[in-house]
Amino acid sequence: MNEATLVLIVMTIGTFALKSAGPLVLGDRALPLRVQQVVDLLPAALLAALTIVSTVGDGRAVAIDARLVGLVVAGRALWRRLPFVVVIVLASGATALARLIS
């Protein structure tokens, strides 16, 4: 079986368990405060890591290239509260331009 299919199957089962635990099992019993805090913070850690690794990661090497220009431009665009489509277009355009120049 293909790796992506295996990931898909595992994530389908695991995600459904996480999504349905409240409505099917727990009801409205609140999560313990500590668990709630970890749950609240977890996405920030992972999304920040994914941002950095997808920007400068190149297998096992750190590569500073045009993608970093794109990320900085994306940050500026988000700071100005521009819509997601605009953020993506500006980031891609800046990266392409940086490659053309260098």
């Binding site: 293909n2 790796e3 992506a4 295996l6 990931v7 898909l8 595992v10 994530m11 389908t12 995600t15 459904f16 996480l18 999504k19 349905s20 409240g22 409505p23 099917l24 727990l26 009801g27 999560l31 709630q36 805090q37 970890v38 609240d40 913070l41 977890l42 996405p43 920030a44 850690a45 992972l46 999304l47 920040a48 890591a49 994914l50 941002t51 690794v53 400068v56 990661g57 297998g59 096992r60 090497a61 750190v62 045009a66 993608r67 794109g70 994306a74 940050g75 988000l78 997601f84 953020v87 993506i88 980031a91 891609s92 355009g93 800046a94 990266t95 392409a96 331009l97 940086a98 490659r99």
Partner: protein, 225 residues
């Protein structure tokens, strides 16, 4: 009431469309087939977790690291489930079916309503709307960018992934514990890139949560004193 909910849901659903296209394109670039990309959007149905898994697979990460990173990003649906549970009334299989729509958008619209039946209605309208748009745009993104090859780098579209992750992270950065978590998580991942197999730096970033909690505890104490 219905009209107000429809309006809230419509703007949220529309915002999902470009994300879906970027996900479809990312899946194609990572070497996933159209069927696999659609499988993720239909059965996993959780934007950031799908992005994470596809990113790690594309980098050559293991099945375990891709699946675990993806699942960690869906742990928050456990908290959403607890919030929405009282409103999601029905037989067990109806509740199971409604659970599949447990995402940020449906929970946001549902939890914004004051009466129980409107909470359920808002949750379902936003959830079904996002589900339809997400799946259609995933297919569009995959078909449009499958086989694009060199065009991806020429158009700078390899920066779309990092930009999308940053956009997902951005709204969370308004609180100090979240910012600390993000910075420490990013530094841990960056430091590990040369030493760990692809995907593992992402998983290790969860230790950044400790940095966020240190600050949260201090804030609690300040409130108490």
């Amino acid at each position: 009431m219905k009209r107000a909910i429809h309006r809230q849901a419509a703007s949220i659903v529309a915002a999902v469309a470009p994300f879906g296209i970027v996900f479809g394109a990312a899946a194609a670039t990572a070497g996933l087939s159209l069927v696999q990309a659609m499988g993720f959007s239909l059965f996993v149905f959780g934007g950031s977790s799908q992005f994470a898994a596809v990113e790690i697979l594309g980098d050559g990460g293991s099945v375990a690291s891709a699946a675990i990173a993806g699942l960690l990003l869906n742990v928050r649906s456990l908290a959403f489930g607890v919030i929405m549970a009282p409103a999601l009334v029905g037989t067990w299989w109806q509740r199971a079916a409604m659970s599949q729509l447990m995402i940020d958008e449906s929970t946001a619209v549902g939890a914004a309503q004051h009466e129980r039946r409107w909470r359920r209605y808002g949750y379902l309208v936003a959830g079904i709307g996002v589900f339809l748009v997400w799946n259609v745009t995933t297919a569009v993104g995959h078909v449009a960018f499958a086989g694009a090859g060199d065009l991806i780098t020429e158009l700078g579209l390899d920066a779309a992934g990092p930009a999308a992750f940053l956009a997902l992270l951005w709204p969370r950065l308004s609180s100090a514990p979240q910012r600390r978590t993000a910075i420490v998580g990013a530094l841990i991942a960056l430091a590990l890139i040369p030493f760990a197999p692809p995907g593992v730096p992402i998983l290790a970033s969860m230790l950044g949560v400790a940095a966020g909690r240190v600050g949260a505890r201090r804030a609690d104490e300040e409130v108490l004193t």
